[in-house]
């Protein structure tokens, strides 16, 4: 019963909040809005809760991907190897990395719907074009997990280019992996590895 009420309550603001364009929404407000909307969408949808892959992917592509700068993320994850890649390779890498991130997020999202997010006060000067938005995910009985979003200002609003979970940077962790693979099998080898991984090959 309370579930149905919660569902209705959650569904109402969702349609209302999601529509207006907010190109210059503050970065912390953006993170909060996206996180709350995404969690609300999951709580309101049984298919999402049970992890229906197509629906979760759809949600992530609609809600989250537009707020990530995937090409910058890929460039950062490539580090010095980025310049060694041709524009076609860079494009392919970005596409594959994006797919990998979507798949990973799909997996993570449905696991964490019971958690509570708290948002830290943002330290930002008026002219800043890069900020870190700090959040914390808590669950009773467990230590809170800090999740920080590195964000940059773009013409289309603020976008995240790294996510740091408990001190582990997504971009840096992938940089180690990418570096090793490029070293042993080149940029094409990395593209091939990512493509296979995205087709569902298990982690070695």
């Amino acid at each position: 019963m309370s579930r149905i009420i919660a569902l209705i309550l959650l569904a109402l603001p969702l349609g209302f909040v999601a529509s207006p364009s907010r190109a210059q929404e503050a970065p912390d407000a953006l993170v909060k809005r996206i996180a709350e909307e995404t969690l609300a969408a999951i709580r309101a949808d049984k298919d999402l809760q049970s992890g229906n892959p197509a629906k979760v992917k759809q949600l992530i592509e609609a809600k989250l991907v537009p707020h990530f700068d995937t090409s910058r993320m890929t460039a950062l994850a490539m580090g010095r190897n980025w310049r060694a890649a041709t524009p076609e390779q860079q494009k392919e890498l970005t596409e594959q990395f994006k797919t990998l991130l979507i798949r990973t997020y799909s997996n993570a999202l449905t696991n964490y719907r019971d958690n509570t997010m708290t948002y830290k006060a943002l330290r930002m000067n008026p002219g800043d074009t890069e900020v870190v938005v700090r959040t914390e995910v808590s669950r009773s009985g467990a230590a809170p997990v800090p999740i920080d979003y590195s964000m940059e200002k773009t013409p289309e609003g603020w976008k995240a280019y790294d996510v740091v979970v408990a001190g582990v940077s997504l971009v840096t962790n992938y940089r180690d992996e990418f570096n090793d693979i490029v070293k042993s099998s080149g940029v094409d080898g990395l593209i091939k590895t990512l493509t296979e991984k995205n087709k569902g090959a298990p982690a070695k």
Partner: protein, 279 residues
Amino acid sequence: MSKPALRTKPQIVRSAAMVPLFAAMLLAGCAVGPTKEDPWEPFNRSMFSVHEAIDGAVLKPVAQGYVAIIPEPIRDAVSNVFGNINDFFSGLNSFLQGDGNRAGDAWGRVLLNTTMGIGGIFDLASMMGIKKDPNDFGITFGKWGFPQGPYLFVPGFGPTTVRDGTGYVVRLFIGPVGYIPDVPLRNSLYGLGYVDLRASALPVESVVETAAIDKYRFIRNAYLRARRYQFYNGHPPPEEDEDATPPAGAASPAPATASPPATPEAPPPATPEAPPPAK
């Protein structure tokens, strides 16, 4: 939204995140050259394979069965009781590190949860905003000046290092479960604690599975970084990050082959867990 948010002041993030991450790493080859932090990589990789085999055949199914059979409130109570004991040792380590504030908070949690939380079954302290703040002997030893030592992957346990692993052994020795005279009870508690820990890793596991290209390397790097972050209590000094931005004057696009990168090999970064200068 369905739950009241924890009342937390916007404050400096504490490095309290290890439990899920560490548990994730209880889970868990191909070969790449050993790194500075992982000089025993070939050995560790074979231990990792052993772990994966044992885990897949026994540990994980047992943990999954535990989650399937035991109702969530009871599992939460089990986690909380063990967590309450761990909080005591977190406090002890904060104390040994000379951090009275953190020790006081941890022991305050223990006091509250043991009494009003009925022996630790309920984590009332978290609900009241006194957050869980893990600390351990591995970090204490580090603060005392012991280096991290080589990375180790221990089958059935997970990622650790020589120093962190030593800290864990010390923790096991000082109990309290080891002091229970009744052997079957003692062993049951050890078993329950183990299953509880393994079960807590299940949700993260599938994420690691999707995210990692090379699971061994992914877990190792994440472990070492998370530990570094925890060591500095959430404020690690920046790593030497010569890879962060592609060099502006990078050479012409190099052929995408096995040739070495166009830029000269950068010096190896500082050991992530190098002990800090004495303060």
